[in-house]
């Protein structure tokens, strides 16, 4: 008797078996209608809620972007080109001010996460520079733990932003200085230890180096289309998507997955694109704990440039791409022959999709 209401699969099977062994289903004879409810295979037991974006798989409610201090729709396109000046040798110098600060952010409606941030936002500012520029980043640590900025790029060991080289104690500062090479879609993140904790708490951001068309005579048109500020680039609709996740109970498993931090942000309010102009996505994976993340585009295919360091695609005509931790790349596609409407894109790990990494493009004529 003791405890048998708790049920386990083996006991359930035994009980059903017992019913057969016991011969006639006394109970069924006595109350056929009631017994039907206990038959496991009865399909009538399952409800069929309406298929609707907002009445099923969703994080119900709204995130307070004003309180967070950043809006995932702004993050899509808010390129930070720094303070620009000319060096004596004629090169462009871009200077940035970045701070590390502790901040509680709302990552899904009502769900508060004690983040560590660059400039109070997750992901941090999207640095957008041009190949060959000189970069000077003044980093001040207002946080409660040591932090650094480790840039994925080519630079000296002294500028690597790791323990022993540019690791900044709370209250301290450091200036990272190096040339912007190679062109591509990169990232930066904190490299203080413990590494997993410093990254998944929110210390990362996009670092995009546009190619210099003068240096790329063989692919000048492609280089121009990438260069922010050029007339060719203005034809494109460019968005930065940082695939990230949050472990809210610190058990080394993520509870929330997203692009640009807020679960379902682009499901509840789709990213609007014009079907007449091509689309370019800067896709970066900074998910911790899960080895890979992915993006799948519905009803369309794209060309992919792994790391964005080439001007010809490294993958052509695919609709799904996967990236390991720290991997990134550029996606190019167009909806010009499509009918207007909502087109999904999401991680093709259904687990991540159902935990928040689900998004929509709204294609308009």
């Amino acid at each position: 008797m003791n405890g048998w209401w708790k049920g386990s699969v083996s006991r359930r099977l035994l009980l059903s078996g017992g019913a057969i062994l016991g011969g006639a289903q006394v109970v069924r004879h006595l109350a056929p209608a009631a017994n039907a409810q206990t038959a496991p295979a009865d399909p009538r037991g399952s409800p069929r809620p309406a298929h609707d974006n907002h009445d099923g798989m969703i994080t119900p409610g709204a995130v307070n972007y004003a309180r967070n201090g950043f809006d995932p729709h702004d993050i899509l396109t808010d390129w930070d080109t720094g303070v620009v000046s000319k060096l004596p040798d004629g090169r462009t110098l871009r200077e940035y001010e970045i701070t590390a600060e502790d901040k509680i952010i709302e990552i899904a409606p009502g769900l508060m996460f004690p983040a560590w941030t660059y400039n109070g936002r997750v992901p941090g500012p999207t640095l957008r520079v041009t190949e060959g520029d000189r970069l000077r980043i003044r980093f001040r640590n207002f946080g409660s733990h040591p932090h650094s900025i480790h840039f994925h790029g080519i630079h000296a060991a002294r500028m690597d932003g790791v323990p022993g080289a540019g690791n900044v104690q709370p209250g301290g500062e450091f200036v990272y200085e190096f040339d912007a090479i190679p062109f591509g879609c990169h990232l930066y993140h904190c490299h203080s230890v413990p590494l997993k904790r410093h990254i998944h708490k929110g210390l990362y951001g996009a670092f995009i180096i546009d190619p210099d068309p003068e240096r790329r005579p063989e692919d000048q048109a492609a280089a121009r289309s990438r260069l922010l500020g050029s007339p060719e680039n203005a034809q494109w609709q460019e968005f930065v998507l940082v695939m990230n996740a949050f472990d809210t109970n610190f058990d080394e498993e993520n509870e929330v997955y997203a692009v640009n931090s807020i679960a379902h942000a682009y499901t509840k309010r789709p990213i609007i694109i014009s079907r007449d102009r091509p689309v370019r996505l800067y896709l970066i994976n900074v998910t911790e704990f899960d080895p890979i993340n992915s993006l799948h585009l519905h009803a369309n295919f794209f060309d992919y440039y792994d790391h964005g360091t080439t001007l010809t695609p490294t993958l052509r005509t695919v609709d799904t791409v996967m990236q390991c931790q720290g991997q990134r790349g550029i996606l190019e596609f167009t909806f010009k022959d499509h009918e207007p409407g909502l087109y999904m894109f999401h991680a093709h790990q259904s687990e991540f999709a159902e935990l928040g990494w689900m998004s929509l493009f709204e294609v308009r004529a």
Binding site: M1, G3, W4, A34, D42, P43, P47, M57, G110, E255
Partner: protein
């Protein structure tokens, strides 16, 4: 100070000082340095689960150091829409219903995760999804029928041994009483274990085991006092009535467990299971009849005793399947355990007195064999329902 006001003063003074100390402690908040940045302690217990055409409904009870906010819900690892009633933060010890329009699959397991604003997770597993029975006349009748088979039928069958036992001599009488003690001892352990298991399911703020032990002790003391209010030990029909009451409370608990298991899909209803309960409980009828072997009770007395011991099983199944809370089940089983202990004591006294009347020790081979057999019968037939 007058004669009366002096004791009142001394009674009130400590109470007033307790209030003063509490206020002073709150005002100075000496613990602030220790609790400054620590997140609140959170506890969430799931007390009821309802599966129907609208999806999954759960009643949660909050615990911990502050009111709790459930901000997101996952079903099988997917964020899902939900509505909370009443909305907002759930107070300490307060409850709320969450309605999740999830297309659950009959016969399969589902896994619920509740996430609070601090990012803490609370999980609940539905082992086998089965539509929660509606309260319909059919359902009520159906459960009543199961209850009759589990509670009333076996006790009535057991009592049919009465004429046979009566025909035997004093040795048979002692044997039957000893058998009763063995049976009751088994029920005592079973009831306590079951009560403690329910208690472990209850919200932790209820201090689980206390929910069983305290009512058990209280019920034992009260029933002893009532039984002996005339200053003498129980015997005959009065003792039989006490046994019936104790067994009735045990059967109430048995019914609660059966009802809860059916409602949550943990048990498939099989005739084997029902017959198992019938066999298991037949000994209870013998136990109730045993103290009356020296008397000639009327048929009405037998019927009333059967009802007292057996009908609570029906009530238990109803409550267990339609409106079930683990903490109330634990209390009910605690009371049952206390009642059973009381009748063990009374039957033992009675047995000892009967033995003394025959100038024999109560510790004879007959009584030892009877008690052992009582336990063994219960243990062996328990296999039929343990599965």
């Amino acid at each position: 100070m007058s004669g009366m006001s002096r004791p009142i003063f001394w009674a009130l003074l400590p109470l007033l000082l307790i209030v003063a100390v509490a206020i002073a402690f709150m005002a100075s908040d000496p613990l602030a340095p220790f609790t400054g940045s620590a997140p609140p302690v959170e506890e969430l217990s799931i007390e009821r689960t309802i599966l129907d055409d609208h999806g999954i409904g759960v009643r949660v009870r909050a615990g911990g150091s502050e009111p709790m906010r459930i901000v997101q819900v996952q079903v099988d690892g997917a964020y899902w829409n939900f509505k909370q009633d009443p909305g907002g933060a759930v107070d300490r010890m307060g409850t709320a219903w969450l309605q999740i329009p999830y297309p659950w699959v009959a016969g399969e397991a589902h896994h619920l995760t509740f996430i609070t604003n601090t990012g803490a997770l609370f999980e609940h597993r539905i082992d086998v999804a089965v539509a929660t029975p509606d309260v319909t006349a059919d359902r009520v009748n159906f459960y009543a029928l199961i209850g009759l088979f589990v509670g009333v039928v076996p006790i009535a069958l057991g009592m049919l041994f009465y004429p046979a036992l009566r025909a035997g001599g004093p040795g048979v009488f002692e044997f039957a009483l000893a058998l009763t003690i063995g049976l009751l001892a088994f029920l005592l352990v079973d009831t306590l274990a079951e009560g403690l298991e329910f208690a472990s399911e209850a919200a932790p703020q209820f201090h689980g085991p206390t929910l069983v032990w305290l009512p058990a002790a209280f019920a034992f003391a009260v029933l002893m006092a009532i039984g002996r209010r005339k200053g003498e030990a129980l015997s005959g029909v009065a003792l039989a009535t006490s046994i019936a009451l104790g067994i009735g409370l045990h059967n109430l608990g048995e019914g609660l467990a059966i009802g809860a298991a059916f409602a949550t899909g943990a048990a498939a209803l099989g005739s084997f299971l029902v017959i198992g309960f019938t066999l298991h409980n037949i000994t209870e009828g013998i136990g109730i009849a045993a103290p009356m072997l020296g008397e000639k009770p009327r048929l009405k007395v037998f019927i009333l005793l059967i009802a007292l011991a057996g009908l609570p099983a029906v009530l238990g199944i109803w409550i267990g399947s339609f409106a079930f809370s683990a903490h109330w089940a634990a209390v009910a089983l605690g009371i049952g355990a206390g009642a059973i202990l009381q009748v063990i004591v009374e039957v033992s006294f009675y047995l000892a007195r009967k033995a003394r009347e025959r100038d024999r020790s109560w510790a004879s081979g007959t009584t030892l064999a009877g008690a052992t057999l009582g336990v063994l019968i219960m243990y062996a037939t328990a296999f039929l329902i343990q599965v």
